[in-house]
C-alpha cells in the first residue's frame, strides 16, 4: 500500500519532467531562428506500475531525455542538391562576366566584324580615297582588338575560377577540421541525447556548408561520421580530418591533391569547387579554342586574299593580319600587320585606281573557312555556345532551387520550431507544473493533518 510519500515522490518526478519540458520549450523558442537548429522534444515514459495489496498503483513519470527531431534522409538530399546548385551557380556567375564579352556592346567581335565588312564595301566605291583606306585599316585594328579583348576576358575569367579553386580548397579544409572536432566531441557524449543534439546540429550545419563547396558523401561509422568527396577521397573519418592540397599544374592552374598527394582534380564534381574546375578546365577552354581557330583561319583567309592583289603603290599585297603561330593564343595575339592604308591590296592589276581585289577581300569575310563555317557563322556559333552555357546553368540553378526549397520545407516541417506549437506547449506545461506543485502542497497538507492526529499542538 502506497503511502503519502509515494504521491510526494510522484509529484516530485512530475515537477522534474515538467521542468525539463519547459526547458526544452524555452530552448526551442530561444533558437527559433538559429540556422541549423532542430527542435527538441522531451522524451517521457510512465514508470512501471506497482501492485500493492491487490491494488495497482501507477509509478509516476520518468524523464528519458530531450531529443532533437531530425530526418537524416532529408538532410542528405538537401546536401546533394545544394552541391549541384552551388556548382551551377558558380558556373553561371563565372560565365556571366564572360557573356558580356559576347553581348552586342559595339566593341564585341560581331560589331567590329560588321564594321570591318562595311568598311571594305565602302572602299569598293572609293578605292583610291585615303580616308576610305584608313577606314579599313582602323576597322581591321578594331576587329583585332576585340579578338584580343575577348580572348583576354576569357583568360581572366579562367584565372578568377582558378583563384576560386584555391580559396575553396582552403574553406573545405577549415570546415572538415571543424567537423572532425565535433565528431570527436560527439562520439563519447553520444549517450547524452541533449548534448549530442546540439553538436549534431552544428555538425549538420557545417556539412551543409561543406556540400556547397563540393559534392560530399556522408556515412556513419562507429566513431562518428565519415565524409568523403563524391569520388571517395576521404575528408573526415571520425575525429580525424584529411586536408586537400593545391599545387600548380603543368597548365599553370592549381591542381587539387588529396592528403596522399594524388591529383584528384578531374574527379571533383559539384559545389563551388566542381563548378570552378568545370569552368576553368572545360567550358572556357572550349570557347577559347573555338575563338583561336576562328582567329587563325580568318586571318589566314584574309591574308591570302590580300596577297592576291596589289596595294596603292602597285606593290604586291602583304599580309593584313599578323597572327601568332600555333593556334593557342591566336585570338589574344591577333594584330594588324599593315601600317598604312595605302598597303591595302585594293588593286587586282597593279594600277592604283583598280578596285578589283576588294571583292576578293570582302569575299574572305563570307567564304567558308577550313572549319566549314563562314567567319560570321563561326563566331555566331561561339555566341550560341556561351549563351547556352549560361542559360543552362541558370535554368539548372533555378530548378534545383525549387527542389531545395521544397526539401527545406519538408525538413522544416519535421525539425523547425513552431512558435504557436511552443506557446501551446508552454501553456500545457505551465498547467502541468501547477498541478504537480499542487500535489506536493496537498501531500504536505495531508502530512500535517496526519501529524496533528492526537497531538495537542498543530504542526
Amino acid at each position: 500500500m502506497g503511502g503519502l510519500n509515494t504521491a510526494l515522490s510522484m509529484g516530485l518526478q512530475s515537477l522534474d519532467a515538467t521542468q525539463a519540458a519547459l526547458d526544452a520549450t524555452s530552448n526551442n523558442i530561444a533558437n527559433a531562428n538559429t540556422a541549423g537548429y532542430t527542435r527538441e522534444v522531451t522524451q517521457l515514459s510512465e514508470n512501471a506500475e506497482g501492485l500493492t495489496g491487490g491494488a495497482i498503483i501507477g509509478g509516476g513519470v520518468t524523464l528519458n531525455g530531450i531529443e532533437s527531431v531530425r530526418d537524416e534522409l532529408l538532410n542528405l538530399q538537401i546536401q546533394q542538391q545544394t552541391s549541384q546548385q552551388s556548382s551551377a551557380d558558380t558556373e553561371s556567375s563565372s560565365l556571366q562576366s564572360v557573356q558580356t564579352l559576347f553581348s552586342s556592346t559595339g566593341s564585341d567581335i560581331a560589331s567590329t566584324l560588321a564594321a570591318f565588312s562595311s568598311s571594305l564595301a565602302q572602299l569598293s566605291a572609293n578605292a583610291t580615297n585615303t580616308s576610305a583606306q584608313q577606314g579599313v585599316l582602323t576597322a581591321g585594328q578594331n576587329l583585332a582588338q576585340s579578338f584580343n579583348a575577348t580572348a583576354n576576358g576569357l583568360t581572366s575569367a579562367q584565372s578568377a575560377a582558378d583563384q576560386q579553386v584555391t580559396q575553396t580548397v582552403g574553406q573545405i579544409n577549415s570546415l572538415t577540421q571543424q567537423i572532425a572536432q565535433l565528431n570527436a566531441q560527439l562520439s563519447p557524449s553520444v549517450v547524452s541525447q541533449q548534448n549530442g543534439g546540439t553538436i549534431e546540429d552544428q555538425r549538420d550545419q557545417l556539412v551543409q556548408q561543406l556540400s556547397q563547396l563540393t559534392n560530399v558523401s556522408v556515412t556513419q561509422s562507429s566513431d562518428g561520421e565519415v565524409i568523403t568527396t563524391g569520388n571517395g577521397t576521404p575528408l573526415v573519418m571520425g575525429g580525424q580530418s584529411y586536408n586537400l592540397q593545391t599545387t600548380t599544374g603543368s597548365s599553370g592552374f592549381q591542381q587539387v591533391l588529396d592528403s596522399n598527394g594524388n591529383n584528384i582534380t578531374s574527379t571533383i564534381q559539384g559545389g563551388q569547387l566542381g563548378g570552378a574546375i568545370q569552368v576553368r578546365d572545360q567550358v572556357i577552354p572550349g570557347f577559347l579554342s573555338s575563338l583561336n581557330t576562328l582567329a587563325t583561319q580568318f586571318a589566314s583567309s584574309f591574308n591570302t586574299a590580300q596577297e592576291a592583289g596589289y596595294d596603292s603603290t602597285g606593290a604586291a599585297g602583304q599580309a593584313f593580319f599578323s597572327v601568332p603561330s600555333g593556334s593557342a593564343g591566336a585570338a589574344a595575339g591577333l594584330s594588324v600587320a599593315l601600317t598604312s592604308g595605302s598597303q591595302i591590296a585594293v588593286s587586282s592589276d597593279g594600277s592604283s585606281g583598280s578596285n578589283g581585289n576588294i571583292a576578293n577581300l570582302s569575299a574572305a569575310l563570307t567564304t567558308t573557312l577550313p572549319s566549314g563555317q563562314t567567319p560570321a557563322n563561326a563566331y555566331a556559333n561561339i555566341v550560341y555556345q556561351v549563351g547556352s552555357a549560361v542559360s543552362t546553368a541558370n535554368a539548372q540553378s533555378t530548378a534545383l532551387g525549387q527542389s531545395i526549397l521544397q526539401l527545406t520545407n519538408q525538413q522544416s516541417s519535421v525539425s523547425g520550431v513552431s512558435i504557436d506549437e511552443e506557446t501551446t506547449n508552454l501553456i500545457r506545461y505551465q498547467t502541468a507544473y501547477e498541478a504537480a506543485a499542487r500535489i506536493v502542497s496537498t501531500v504536505q497538507a495531508l502530512n500535517t493533518v496526519t501529524l496533528d492526529m492526537g497531538a495537542t499542538q498543530s504542526y
Partner: protein, 300 residues
Amino acid sequence: MRVNPNMVPDILADLQQSQSTLNTTLQEVSTGKSVTEPSDNPSASAQMVQNGIETANVDQYTQNITDVMTTVQTAASALSSVASSLTQAVSLGTEGANGTNSSANLATLAQQVQSILASVVSDANTSVEGTYLFGGTVSTTLPYTADSTSPTGYTYNGNSDVNSVAVGDDLNVPVNVPGSQIFSDSSNNVLGALSSLVSALQSGNSSQISTATTAVSSAVNLVSQQQGFYSNAEGRLNAQETVLQQDTVTLTSQQNNLIGVDEATAATELSQAETDNSAALAAAAKVLPNSLLNYLTTPT
C-alpha cells in the same frame, strides 16, 4: 503531418521571383529589347551576329549606290555632250563636203571642228573628285594627253580594265567603260575621226571630207552604244537600291523578331508583374507577424 512552421524561405523565394520578373519586364519595356545578353536567347543572339553584319553591309551598299550614281551620271552626261558634239561635227562635215564652200569657209569649218575636238577631249578627261572616269582603272592619271607623235594628236594613258563596285552581297556592278572602248576602239576612233575631219577640211578635198564625215558618224554610233552602258548601269543601281531598301525592312523586322519586344505585350507583362509583386508583398506583410501570441492575454 506536421506543417512547416517557417514560412520565411517560401515568402522570400516568392518575393525574389516576383522582383526578378518585375526587373526583367521593366528592362524589356525600357530598352525595347527582349535579348540583352546571349543567355537571354542564345539562338537569337547567334542569328543577330549575321543580322548585324548584313545590316552594316546594306547601309554601306546603299551609300555606295549614292556615291557611284554620281560617277555614273557624270559619265553619262559627259558622253551625251560628246555625242552632241560629234553630231554637230557630222553636220559641219556634211556642209564642208557639198563642194560649194570657199576656202575661207572651209577654214572656219575646220576651226569649228577643231574646237569640237578640244571639247570632246575635255569630256574624255572628265573627273569626279580627282578620279578620271574614262581611264579604265588608271583613274589618277589624265586619260588623254596631247601627243604630236600620235596620228590622232592624243595618247591614251589609261588601260582597258573595268572597276566594279560592291552594291550587294556577291553583286558588283561595273561602273566604268575604259576610254579605249569609247574614244579609241579598234575599228572606230572618235578622236582620230575628228582629227581626220579637221585635216580634210583644211585640205579642202571634198571626197576626203566626205570619208572623214562618215567616220565621225560611225563614231557617233559607238558613243551612243556606250551611253547605253551607263543608262543600263544607272538602271541596275536604281533597281538594286530598291532591293536594298527591301533588305533593310527585312533585316529590321528580323531583328525585331529576334530581340525586340512587342510593346503591348511587354507593357501588359510589366503591369502584371507589378500586381504580382504587390500581392506577394501584401501577403507577406499580412502573414508573417501572425502567431498565437497575438491572441493570448497576458497571464495574471
